[in-house]
């Protein structure tokens, strides 16, 4: 029963969310997060589980989306057999699978850097083709559809956003469970082995190429499901969905969330999409922050956010009270970090304001304080905060690290209890 608990909790949270946040904006946001979780988990089947870095995985996401809108429109024109919208995502999955098998055959022949380059090549090629082949992809305009094609069980039409939210939540839960179980199959384990050591795998009877191909295809299947859900949610598909930009975004989500653990991509997709949707209206520098965040994760905690949590797992598994001595050093370090980050954000915001301010904007409000980027005072203040914070970070980091080391050493000594 204990193993089922997180799933039941997840389902309950998903059921409850729309009752807490019921606006159309929130519903769309949560729906998007739901399908991006599927996409991110699918992506992590490649990067985290299989060790394949792809710069073009949005191809399968987007092509499934294109297929879905076409199919919906064809249903409307009664040219194809009717499939209820509830099951349409499965169709998208098979489209993803088809292209995954096809393109995967070529691209998974190599691993590592070469694989990354091939994925980039395919990504660029497909994006360019969506603009050239207007009859299929309708160029820059993309394709519109209407997801209300008929009444389904219990009178669901998928007109109201709340119904689409539950559709996505259901598929999200299903796919998450399926992908979780996949990690526990022989395929999943060998996929990890290929990630760790592709050469060795060849000497225990496996073709690492074949494993990569399989992982790639299955991942494309789930990416396809996500793409179809996207098409149903937005009722539009355009070249942005196949573009390298979309691939880069999912890479950021997965890596910042953490490739090493199953929940990492879920954390990453939720956090990043939420930040993106709320911050783009507030600051122009969002992409810069995203890039810096990504670089910082690579440099300082390659396990991502989930890695930060799981590194404490051995400690609280033994006893939660072992975490107590960590609190003060962590709080100090965190305070220093927040200060330096806030200082830097202030400086960046003022720089942006100076370089691209509109004449109708006369004031810059940073953290609720009105700052005039054309006077010296805020520059001095923010520089001061940033530098002082930076020094404090350097001073407090060693004690935080040693606190963790002590705790983990204690955890090894003590028996479980």
């Amino acid at each position: 029963m204990g193993r089922l608990a997180p799933w039941i909790a997840g389902a309950i949270v998903m059921m409850a969310l729309p009752h807490v946040f019921s606006s159309g904006f929130a519903l769309t946001l949560m729906s998007q997060i739901g399908l991006l979780i599927v996409f991110a988990l699918a992506y992590n089947m490649l990067l985290g589980q299989g060790g394949m870095l792809s710069f073009g995985h949005a191809v399968y996401f987007g092509l499934a989306g294109y297929f879905t809108v076409h199919y919906l429109n064809f249903i409307y024109e009664e040219e194809v057999p009717y499939i209820p919208v509830t099951l349409i995502p499965l169709l998208g999955g098979f489209v993803g699978l088809f292209f995954g098998i096809l393109i995967g055959y070529v691209s998974t022949r190599r691993a590592g850097t070469t694989f990354a380059m091939i994925s980039l090549g395919f990504g660029e090629m497909v994006t360019a083709l969506t603009l050239v082949l207007v009859a299929i992809f309708n160029g820059e305009d993309g394709i519109q559809t209407d997801r209300v094609i008929g009444e389904e069980l219990f009178g669901v039409t998928y007109g109201p956003n709340i119904e689409v939210y539950y559709l996505i939540a259901g598929w999200c839960l299903l796919c998450t469970l399926a992908m979780f179980l996949l990690t526990r199959t022989p395929f999943g384990r060998i996929s990890n082995a290929v990630r760790d050591n592709p050469e060795r795998v060849e000497f225990i009877g496996y073709s690492s190429q074949r494993i990569r191909w399989l992982a790639f295809s299955l991942s494309s299947f789930f990416a396809g499901i996500a793409g179809a859900l996207h098409a149903v949610n937005i009722e539009h598909v355009g070249f942005e969905q196949v573009s390298v930009l979309q691939s880069g975004l999912v890479l950021f989500m997965v890596y910042i969330g953490g490739t090493g653990s199953f929940v990492g991509p879920i954390i990453g997709a939720t956090l990043l999409y939420f930040l993106q949707s709320t911050l783009t209206g507030v600051t122009e520098a969002w992409v810069l922050y995203l890039g810096v965040m990504f670089v910082a994760v690579i440099m300082f905690f390659p396990g991502g956010l989930a890695g930060l949590i799981t590194m404490h797992q051995p400690i609280w598994r033994v006893h939660a009270r072992l975490l107590a001595p960590l609190l003060i050093p962590y709080a100090r370090f965190f305070a220093a970090l927040v200060a330096s980050v806030l200082g830097c954000i202030g400086l960046i915001e003022m720089l942006y304001f100076r370089s691209s301010r509109l004449s109708t904007e006369t004031e810059l409000v940073i953290f609720g304080i009105e700052s005039d980027p054309f006077s010296a005072a805020p520059w001095i203040v923010f520089t001061g905060i940033a530098v002082a914070g930076g020094f404090a970070v350097r001073k407090t980091l060693p004690s935080a690290v040693s606190a963790w080391n002590t705790a983990i050493a204690d955890a090894r000594v003590l028996p479980r209890g």
């Binding site: 380059m117 980039l120 090549g121 660029e124 083709l129 082949l133 299929i136 390298v244 880069g248």
Partner: protein
């Protein structure tokens, strides 16, 4: 014929510009095993620095100073960014440079704004050097060709005749070997990275005013450079040169000799259904797909000769 020669001239020119970028990338890759995703961003920095310097001083100062600054920036990023990531492996390094590309693009927008900057060809080289068969061969384009050929020759000489070149060649063929000879590997890495970036910077200085200096230039050129070095064979300078020239020339000729799939279909006597969703396939002409051709070549190359033209090393 005259237009063929003009197309060839431009193909070679574009190819040499690609080679300037690809050579730095190849050098870095050979030495460090790092595929520098941000390479085209250093190209962009070269162009922006050159613009800034030529505003204050002149183009010639920019030609010397801008690549040096770009090289310093590159070395700095290697020293304080890439080196700590090294222990996490090549994929992490590739990801790091991917992130750096994002950050550089945003910083450029923050400093120089989101619209193109007016980085112009110096007035002294604005005209035509000579006109042949009705086509102008501009002074500046010929100058670009001279610069890129000169750098190629210098690079070749450096690798063949100097001690540093010896170390680099040794490292290219066997990276573990050099460390055992007592060389300070981290330092060599840092300067290799800086030098590679400086080469991209040179390309930015001479190419930025022709291609346009704007924040999107890195994203637009970057992928092509990767195609060049993969087709040429990762880690092969000669391969990079050949691949760069092939891509330069092929994309130019595809525009010139504009053949369409449609004419092929007609020649085969097939009927085209003009209402079919697949009709666009029959309308494609080589000129339309010229910018996509490198990627097509990449895919074909990887199917038939995965190591590239002159590749000796697996990744």
């Amino acid at each position: 014929m005259e237009s063929f020669i003009f197309a060839m001239f431009n193909g070679v020119l574009y190819g040499m510009l690609l080679f300037l970028l690809a050579s730095g990338l190849t050098l870095i890759f050979s030495m460090m095993g790092v595929l520098n995703f941000a390479h085209a961003s250093f190209f962009m920095l070269g162009a922006y620095f050159a613009y800034q310097i030529s505003e204050g001083l002149n183009f010639w100062a920019a030609l010397i100073v801008a690549p040096v600054i770009v090289g310093m920036v590159g070395a700095g990023i290697e020293r304080w960014g890439l080196r700590p990531v090294h222990r996490y492996g090549h994929v992490a390094e590739l990801l790091f440079t991917f992130g750096v590309a994002y950050v550089i693009e945003e910083l450029v927008q923050m400093i120089w704004g989101r619209v193109p900057v007016p980085y112009e060809i110096p007035d002294a080289m604005a005209g035509a050097l000579f006109t042949w068969q009705g086509f102008d061969y501009s002074i500046y384009r010929v100058f670009m060709l001279v610069v890129s050929v000169a750098i190629f020759v210098a690079l070749f000489a450096l690798l063949t005749y100097t001690r540093i070149g010896l170390i680099i060649r040794a490292a290219v063929s066997d990276p573990t070997h050099v460390a055992t000879l007592g060389h300070d590997i981290p330092r060599i890495f840092m300067w290799t990275f800086g030098f590679g970036c400086a080469l991209a910077g040179v390309a930015g200085v001479v190419g930025g005013n022709v291609l346009g200096t704007e924040p999107a230039m890195a994203i637009q050129l970057g992928p092509i450079v990767f195609v060049v070095i993969v087709i040429g064979g990762l880690g092969s300078l000669g391969g990079a040169l050949v691949a760069a020239l092939i891509i330069g020339i092929v994309t130019r000729l595809a525009i010139f000799y504009d053949y369409g799939v449609g004419s092929l279909v007609l020649a085969l006597g097939l009927e085209i259904d003009t209402t079919s969703m697949l009709r666009d396939f029959t309308r494609i002409t080589t000129a339309q797909v010229a910018p996509v051709l490198p990627y097509l070549m990449l895919v074909l190359m990887l199917i038939f000769k995965p190591r590239g033209l002159f590749g000796t090393r697996d990744v």
